[in-house]
């Protein structure tokens, strides 16, 4: 099928816009398009739910929750990820 209305947006665009959506940083028209997509798309709705859950979970974490060893491993992984990008 290919006859979606021109203003419809794809899942990939929604994923890219989700951070701005949650921060209330989208203009009204774009936000409406994202919301209209979410009404139709259970996959993106689930992604949004997981995104919200991740934010809520990480907000509850204190610095002491992370053992030094894990912290070092994570930093190391990020360093290598940036070098590989």
């Amino acid at each position: 099928m290919s006859a979606a209305r021109p203003e419809d947006i794809a899942c990939r665009e929604v994923v890219e816009l989700l951070t701005d959506f949650l921060e209330g940083a989208l203009d009204r028209k774009t936000r409406t398009r994202v919301e209209q997509h979410l009404v139709l798309c259970p996959g993106c709705t689930e992604y949004l739910r997981q995104f919200r859950l991740t934010i809520a979970t990480t907000r509850r974490l204190a610095k002491t929750d992370l053992p030094d060893r894990v912290k070092e491993d994570l930093l190391d992984a990020f360093r290598h990820w940036r070098q590989g990008a």
């Binding site: 099928m1 006859a3 209305r5 209330g24 409406t32 919301e35 209209q36 979410l38 009404v39 139709l40």
Partner: protein, 207 residues
């Protein structure tokens, strides 16, 4: 103060913001909801097909109310009463009605193309699974013919309707209308039909 409509997820929860709206108590409306950003969204009947959710509520809005493309915007709102007729069964019926409309579009176009046997075969089944199965087989050569292309829409719309995804079934049916009538304005016309269907099913005034 103006009264409008609002779809909420199960448990009076805003589908996007996650806020749980205060419940009306007896005949008294719920407490006012006044978000920090000052934006409460609601619907006219014509807007309903865009925002389908599990629960439909009548909501009182605080002035000034702005009319946007497919929703209303107000600084605050409060729930008045739930439209009880909009329930799980209504969602299923709505999706089926939309998918069968799409089937009618496909049948008409197949007849126009002289494919009367396929048209009559597709017109036969009364249940969604049968419609989806037949439409899927007819939609196999969708690239070459408009009728077959429409059958692919019907297959998808009927499948979504059978899963209880009324919003998706309706959206696909509205897109099918564009293909059937060869005009982008057909999308809006189909949305109007869908809004009238919801209004009829729930006993709402159609304006």
């Amino acid at each position: 103060m103006p009264v409008a409509l609002k779809f909420l997820a199960a448990g009076r929860v805003s589908p996007f913001g996650g806020r749980r709206w205060p419940e009306p108590f007896g005949d008294a409306p719920g407490h006012w909801v006044r978000p920090a950003g000052g934006e409460v969204y609601a619907c006219r009947v014509i807007d309903l097909p865009w925002w389908l959710e599990a629960e439909l509520w009548e909501v009182e809005l605080e002035d000034p109310v702005a009319t946007l493309e497919c929703q209303l915007l107000a600084p605050a709102g409060r729930l008045m009463r739930r439209i009880q007729a909009w329930d799980e069964a209504a969602v299923l019926e709505y999706g089926a009605a939309c998918a069968l409309r799409a089937r009618d579009f496909a049948v008409n176009v197949l007849r126009e193309e002289g494919r009367t046997t396929e048209a009559e075969t597709l017109a036969e089944p009364g249940e969604l699974d049968g419609v989806a199965r037949l439409a899927r087989s007819l939609g196999a050569d969708a690239v070459r013919r408009r009728g077959a292309n429409l059958a692919a829409y019907v297959a998808e719309s009927a499948a979504r309707a059978a899963q209880g995804a009324g919003a998706a079934a309706a959206n696909i049916a509205a897109n099918a209308a564009v293909v059937a009538r060869r005009h982008p304005a057909a999308f809006g016309v189909e949305r109007e039909w869908q809004a009238r269907w919801i209004a009829r099913r729930t006993g709402l005034a159609q304006n």
